[in-house]
């Protein structure tokens, strides 16, 4: 019922967009083909093949890149215990996909394209048939890729790798417009010209139906039959591959199994003491969690990206800019430690460990996970600002981090944002609606408070620079760190008392939502 409602809402939101994109696409297809025919008829075949290949690959990879699948990859393995032939299931899934709104919206575009390609009215049905064959192959290929992803997702290590790569791919794609505007477009244009000139995309099966349509439009019957037959064979082959994949997934042959790379390793907690064990646990878990690992790499990539932007837009970073940047980086200690623990919080609080140790370990792991980003930022700072400022910048960042980590403990205890379990709605629960907005407002409040409390210590670290007496740093930097450390100790002691009082409530809240 909820799914049907979500579908209905999605469709209602989608329909106007689909309608306009369909009208616009139809116009562009007609005008584009007629324009190309008039300008250089030889260009039509490779250009259309290239576009069909691009659309086909994007369609196939859409679940990976955009997180949204353009056509459905039906989990037909659930139907395998019914007495039905495999190819019937594959065909049913394909027919089901033909009725998808996105596919239906593509039909006017294909009709308009076929009309533009047809030099005589009698050629139109054949051109349309060729175009539809291309669409059918696209759906069959998307079904194969969907089944492959389905099979891989049942193997945990591949799924982890996919999550990691997808986050990286998403980050790179979000950076793509900026890269294109700063010189990347020229390279892309050259690559397209090479592909079109050599008609290298003739090998792409996504294009074969459209090539048949082009030849049909020109009245070249033999070429039409050849390309259409090739496209039909490709569709049958894709359907056969789908059937084999379904059978293998059902038999568990694509399921997880096999020995992992960790197997055989005699792992011992190396770091000393309970805080060390807690810290090491957090680091090991984070390193093996693909989303956390990707975030870790992105924390290095983001400063490098800003370095790229800075070097192309301005000469460098002013001392005040570096000061602000160091404070902002330090203040990013907000970690929502207990909300992210999820159900593991019951284990954590089941151990007889003093609560201040738990808080310190959580803060330390937060710091360790941000260390690569901080280091990259320091390297970036040394390239953009006078290197003499770096000790003060690092101290400023550290002082702000200490205050931020200390205050974050209160937010984690009093307002944990519970992380959704894998496979569950990430936009529900504590991250959604007014609760999510409330938590964001609270986070902003803590952020401002952190900057205000940390300001005197950062000021102390920067005073020698303003007085132009660098030797004073020998005194001011340790003093600033000691002051921030004392504030941190007080904050942790207070938070530990709050945690002891509120531990069962925190557990109920997190376990109730995790």
């Amino acid at each position: 019922m909820a799914r049907a409602r979500e579908r209905a809402v999605g469709l209602a939101l989608l329909l106007p967009g689909l309608f306009f994109s369909s009208v616009f696409g139809s116009f562009m297809a007609y005008a584009g083909v007629r324009g190309a025919e008039a300008h250089d008829p030889e260009l039509v075949l490779p250009l259309l093949s290239l576009i069909a290949t691009g659309v086909g690959i994007s369609w196939m990879l859409s679940p990976l890149v955009a997180g949204v699948s353009l056509s459905e990859s039906h989990d037909v393995s659930r139907l395998l215990h019914f007495p039905l032939p495999l190819l019937t299931l594959v065909a049913a899934s394909l027919v089901g996909n033909l009725l998808q709104p996105v596919v239906l919206a593509a039909l006017p575009v294909l009709a308009s394209l076929s009309l533009a390609l047809s030099r005589s009215p009698s050629a139109l049905p054949f051109a349309l048939a060729g175009s539809l064959l291309s669409l059918l192959f696209l759906l069959a290929a998307a079904q194969v890729s969907g089944l492959v992803l389905h099979g891989l997702s049942r193997r945990r290590r591949f799924q982890d790798l996919a999550v990691f790569l997808v986050i990286g791919l998403g980050f790179l794609m979000s950076m793509a417009p900026i890269v294109l505007f700063s010189g990347g477009a020229r390279f892309l244009g050259r690559a397209v010209r090479v592909l079109v000139a050599g008609d290298l995309v003739a090998l792409s099966p996504f294009a074969w139906g459209l090539r048949a349509a082009v030849h049909a439009g020109r009245g070249e019957a033999l070429a039409f039959v050849g390309w259409a037959a090739a496209q039909a064979a490709a569709i049958v082959a894709a359907a056969a591959i789908s059937a084999v994949l379904i059978e293998r997934i059902y038999r568990g042959e694509l399921d997880l199994g096999g020995r992992g790379q960790e197997e055989g390793a005699r792992a011992v907690m190396v770091l000393p003491g309970r805080i060390g064990a807690l810290l090491e646990k957090d680091l090991r878990v984070a390193w093996r969690d693909p989303a956390t690992k990707a975030t870790l790499f992105l924390s290095c990539a983001t400063p490098l990206f800003w370095l790229f932007v800075f070097t192309r837009t301005s000469g460098g970073l002013s001392p005040v800019g570096l000061l602000m940047l160091s404070m902002l980086v330090g203040a990013s200690a907000f970690g929502n430690a207990f909300g992210l623990e999820g159900r593991g919080i019951a284990l954590l609080f089941g151990f007889p460990v003093e609560r201040w140790r738990v808080l310190v370990a959580k803060n330390l792991s937060g710091f360790a996970l941000r260390l690569p980003g901080l280091a990259t930022l320091l390297v970036m700072g040394s390239l953009l600002a006078p290197p003499a400022l770096l000790p003060a910048a690092a101290t400023g960042a550290l002082c702000t981090f200490l205050v931020a980590a200390g205050s974050d403990n209160y937010a984690s205890i009093l307002f944990p944002m519970v992380a959704a379990r894998p496979g569950h709605n990430p936009y529900g629960g504590s991250a959604a609606g007014s609760r999510g907005l409330g938590a964001a407002a609270l986070g902003a409040l803590f952020f401002m408070a952190t900057l205000i409390v940390a300001a005197p210590f950062v000021f102390l670290a920067w005073v020698p620079m303003w007085l132009e007496r660098p030797l004073l740093w020998i005194l001011s930097l340790p003093l600033a760190l000691a002051g921030a450390g004392a504030v941190y100790a007080m904050l942790v002691a207070g938070a530990a008392r709050v945690l002891e009082r509120r531990e069962p409530d925190l557990l109920q809240r997190v376990l109730g939502e995790a």
């Binding site: 945990r156 997880l256 020995r259 992992g260 960790e262 197997e263 055989g264 390793a265 005699r266 792992a267 011992v268 907690m269 309970r274 060390g276 064990a277 807690l278 090491e280 646990k281 090991r284 878990v285 093996r288 969690d289 999820g342 159900r343 593991g344 919080i345 019951a346 284990l347 609080f349 089941g350 151990f351 007889p352 460990v353 003093e354 002891e500 531990e503 069962p504 409530d505 557990l507 109920q508 376990l511």
Partner: protein, 236 residues
């Protein structure tokens, strides 16, 4: 829970039984400090739970039903982590981990991430973690669910031996014949209220059921279960 009160003597194998939703897991969560009761108190091994929570956690071990484990640690790493959290030295933790893994037939899986474990392997890992610090009281919520018969026998034999050595067992199970075999004493709750407590003989006598009545017979009578006996109309 509604005014539940009971006492378990040291070294007893105590079965806490009841139908689904009766409050068994809730009681265990309250006794281990994971849930705060609205009123009342609990004392475990002489430590009042509310005031000396950490002292209680040092002497108890817990096997929860829903098995929240750190899935991105290997079984061996998790046991090392648990040992260190209970304050054991690195050497002692390593020694006990090796023994536990061998005892519970987890040696071959020691280097696998817990996320790749079967339900039974998870259960055994959680049980190993509950035992690593030599607890005085063990809270076991459905300990035999999902465990194969061989491991089940190994685990029940171990639990019996632990009880003989003075470890108190607080045990919940849906499998009543296992409870009947293992428990010295049982308490039966229904909809949050304690409806009977004592040895099986005492409960039989209190409730005036025959001496040959099994724990299951007594249980069904006490919780007034309506066991349907008619067949489905199309199966014949």
């Amino acid at each position: 829970m509604d005014h539940v009160s009971f006492r378990v003597a040291r070294g007893r194998f105590f079965g806490f039984l009841g139908p689904n939703g009766a409050g068994k897991s809730t009681t265990i969560k309250m006794l281990t400090g994971l849930l705060r009761p609205t009123e009342g108190e609990a004392v475990i091994e002489g430590h009042p739970l509310e005031k000396e929570l950490l002292a209680v956690k040092r002497v108890i071990g817990m096997l929860p039903e829903d098995l929240p484990l750190y899935e991105r640690l290997t079984g061996e790493e998790y046991l090392h982590f648990a040992g260190r959290m209970y304050g054991l030295s690195r050497e002692e933790t390593r020694k006990r981990t090796d023994e536990l893994l061998a005892f519970l037939s987890l040696e071959e899986e020691r280097g696998k991430l817990i996320v790749d474990y079967s339900q039974g392997m998870r259960k055994k890992t959680a049980l190993a973690a509950a035992l690593i610090h030599s607890p005085r009281v063990l809270f076991l919520d459905e300990p035999l669910n999902g465990i194969d018969p061989i491991s089940g026998r190994v685990v029940t034999d171990l639990l019996r031996r632990l009880a003989q050595k003075g470890v108190t067992m607080f045990f919940t199970s849906h499998v009543l014949d296992v409870a009947e075999r293992l428990c010295d004493e049982v308490a039966i709750i229904d909809r949050g209220r304690l409806v009977a407590q004592g040895t099986l003989e005492q409960i039989r006598a209190q409730r005036e059921v025959g001496q040959d009545a099994t724990l299951e017979d007594v249980f069904l009578k006490l919780v007034a279960a309506d066991v349907r006996r008619e067949d489905l109309s199309w199966i014949g």
